[in-house]
Symmetry: C2
Subunit: 246 residues, 2 copies
């Protein structure tokens, strides 16, 4: 197994094509050497969100200072499809899950939105970024999703780029099934999943009046917010995104 | 809000159409009265996995003994589509999540399967049943998914009903996209998601040789087991199951 063992992947905020050596911060060095028990000369894959993925060898300068020696490029840079996720933050574990799953399911941008029935207003952008980096490392993305600061739903709708279609998951079931609504001719899209309490009447009326917004349903069972996120993104990737045949 | 407040839903293992009174066990009584703070005469929805959903009123016989008085039927019995999930148990939290999400996403039966690379062999069927009941209560199912004892993958394949198409999620990407493979003419189906280490060569060879088994892919990012479960079930429900227009 050891020869075929999956290499550890690491996001590094550094130029990987021009630089031969990439210094590791304390957290990264601790992870590689103490948690993953790597030794000097062990191989690691690194990516930086704009140049692709590179094979590197771990090197130590001193007992506590480590760097990566860049050996060769393994994959080109590539962006995930241009799909955004707008979600109303829920409880901590569920929100963590949403960030992780949305990253794995290949979103380009994540925007926490505050709606009338949003039960959590403690939006920890720093935490979301750390989670999206970890999920990107694990799922083999070579790009990172952009994590936006939390925004008020009405405010974001008022300054919306009309070129981007916004699919809102309508729990009142007054919309067509998602697979039918998702439009393969529109590759700039966003998915909006409301809070567990649903959208307010005023929010639904506003969404239904916007020319760029389309309601979509995910069946008749009541899905938790994180399930609706995973379901909507999966159906979009399968029908419009990069799960289709190349 | 109080008038429109979502009523608590409870699974009860009792005849609801012939019986006027349904005794509650200690756990149910504790949940309704101590956790949810319901009082005598408060309304509850109950379902029993074969007769549908009924509006009931909580009643107390003594300080600690409670029962439900059945008032009227609110929904008929209805089964979820005939889709099974076969999954290799992973870590506790992830497995919990798989049971919960699969229930919400409307599976008829869940079978834990032991594969060569399955890292967990501690399969807690009792725990899975409790979780699937809780998820059924919350997502408004009127049926429960059947939870099977863990079985060896090879053994289950040897006695497979060939009428049921088995879609296995193929991480080696030697298969077509799931949305293309899922067949809307076959409404008896099963989805098989392997462990994080993937299927073994021998397992893949066996699966590829079986006439009832079809490989399917979910894009090129590496999905965690629980993400693959949610993604595959979502795409199936959207394209073959009951998320389509009625």
């Amino acid at each position: 197994m050891s020869g075929k063992k999956t290499k550890i992947r690491l996001f590094v905020d550094a130029d990987l094509s021009a630089t031969a050596e990439v210094m590791l911060n304390d957290k990264q060095a601790h992870y590689l050497t103490n948690v993953m028990k790597l030794a000097s000369e062990d191989e690691v894959l690194a990516f930086n969100n704009h140049q692709g993925e590179f094979l590197c060898a771990l090197q130590n300068k001193s007992k506590k200072t480590f760097y990566l020696k860049v050996l060769s490029q393994t994959r080109p840079y590539e962006q995930c499809p241009d799909i955004w996720l707008l979600f109303a933050p829920v409880k901590k574990d569920q929100t963590d899950f949403i960030i992780q799953k949305a990253t794995e399911l290949g979103v380009a941008k994540i925007i926490p939105v505050i709606t009338t029935h949003t039960i959590s207003d403690k939006v920890k952008t720093e935490r979301f970024i750390a989670q999206s980096i970890e999920a990107s490392e694990q799922c083999r993305r070579v790009d990172l999703p952009e994590i936006s600061e939390a925004q008020d739903l009405e405010k974001i709708l008022r300054s919306w780029d009309e070129e981007r279609v916004l699919y809102f998951m309508d729990e009142t079931r007054q919309a067509k099934p998602a697979l039918q609504v998702f439009d393969s001719n529109k590759n700039k899209a966003a998915i909006l999943v409301g809070p567990e309490g649903g959208f307010s009447e005023a929010e639904l009326n506003l969404l239904r009046s916007l020319p760029f917004a389309k309601g979509a349903t995910l069946g008749k069972r009541i899905l938790r917010a994180e399930t609706a996120v995973a379901a909507a993104l999966s159906v979009w990737q399968a029908s419009v995104g990069d799960w289709r045949e190349e």
